[in-house]
Amino acid sequence: MSADVRPPEHALEVVRSGPAATVQDLGRPGLAHLGVGRSGAADRPSLRLANRLLGNDEGAAAVEVTVGGLSVTCAGGAFVALTGAPCPATVDGRPVPLNSVLWLPDGAELELGMPAVGLRSYLAVRGGLEVAPVLGSRSRDTLAGLGPDPLTAGMRLPVGPAPAGDPLVDTAPLDPPTGGEITLRVRLGPREDWFSPGAARTLLGQAYQVSADSDRVGARLEGDPLERAGDDDRELPSEGMVLGSLQVPPSGQPTILLADHPVTGGYPVIGVVDARDVAAAAQARPGQTVRFVPTARAS
């Protein structure tokens, strides 16, 4: 036994997890050759913002909350920040703002209600969550079953030591995700030649509805089906897929591949959502309308 007097361990304690809350950082790039995808926060800019507010490394691990419902306390107290989908939030019943540095006192309960718009919110803690990393990341990959378990009531999430720098700002002005129509820039390819000439017009011309069957793997869309080229009963050999790919299964209804998408897939990709718009796609709620516009060619 050590005689050292240790400071009390800081930890978030989960009172209620809500429908789907996981720990996320910026994921595990560089392992695709082992069949391991990147995973990480579905809305990366919101995770980075929450960490910047607290003076953390931008890639520190935080909680990704889906449609609110999370309730936590923090042993020892902590500075926290909430970003992403605007959940109504309270500390011991008193409303607290988003995109701000908040003090969560020892034992006080932070409760998140359901956001009016958007899907995913981020709760970051100064010092970051120090759950055990798996393959260099604390992200939960829901498809591969890798990384820390999804949050459940009673779980303790250790908080790391505070970073050297102080938080530089109290609050960050930021537009919330839209509740109306979402416009996503898309570049056709790599497999647009697997579709009928009219399929690109259909993709770019219609309003899609986001399906309820959407998750961290993909946002599934419903609309007029995208037709395969008429003479085409080929089967695509599985190939690598990037984040934001519009993968089209035989139903003709595209799925926007999100953070936990598989490394390879066997259905052709008609187009890819611009990297700047993937966070907006990840915030699209079931029932919301999505339109695609062509990306201006860079060259």
């Binding site: 069949g35 690598g240 990037v242």
Partner: protein, 205 residues
């Protein structure tokens, strides 16, 4: 070689066959173009994932076209023997599809050397290529919703072993007790690209 852009974050390089894919992969692994963060080899393609803040698709395509590729340069990454009990639910169907008896299917499976070409589908799922075409069979028309960990299967030109329970559409011919995926092992995948694999018949205990 065809270079197909994937938005602003990827370049899908389409090649004629798997050996070309593996040769280009081996060449690029040694010296990846700046800003490329991940290489994903597959049956006919190599995907380069890039960071759009560091490079652009067109620049990467130019660099890929200038790479000199030595065919057959893919290195061997070790040898593995996998004990298999050949009692898979699709063994009889594979026999019918290949025109072999079930005994001949087992003999063909154990009698050739397999090489892990690439990983995909799920962590540690290696796509194995054999030495002949006798066991090439189509995947099942209806995938199973649940395939157990350790299931040994065939699909198209590939063999494979399911590292963990998952849905799957491969024809199942047997099962192994080997641990294909363990995050506490380095590397966590038993079958990394380049590994040579022998399947060894084991009696059901």
């Amino acid at each position: 070689m065809r270079c197909l852009p994937c938005g602003d974050v990827g370049l899908l390089v389409e090649l004629d066959d798997l050996p070309q894919v593996l040769a280009l992969h081996a060449a690029l692994e040694q010296a990846p173009p700046p800003g490329v963060i991940d290489l994903v080899p597959a049956a006919r393609t190599l995907l380069l994932q890039l960071d759009p803040a560091q490079t652009a698709v067109d620049a990467v395509a130019e660099q890929v076209r200038s790479v000199s590729v030595r065919p057959g340069a893919a290195p061997v990454a070790g040898r593995v023997e996998l004990p298999v009990v050949y009692d898979g639910s699709d063994l009889a169907e594979v026999a019918e599809l290949t025109g072999l008896s079930t005994e001949e299917v087992v003999a063909a499976h154990t009698g050739q050397e397999w090489t892990v070409a690439f990983c995909g589908f799920s962590p540690g799922f290696g796509y194995l290529v054999g030495e002949d075409e006798r066991l090439h069979v189509p995947r099942r028309s209806t995938p199973r919703t649940r395939v157990p960990a350790g299931a040994v299967g065939l699909a198209g030109e590939f063999g494979g072993v399911y590292p963990r329970e998952s849905p799957g559409g491969w024809q199942l011919i047997g099962r192994t007790d080997a641990t294909l995926w363990d995050v506490d092992r380095d590397p966590p995948a038993l079958l990394v690209p380049g590994t040579q694999v022998r399947f060894v018949r084991q009696d059901a205990s």
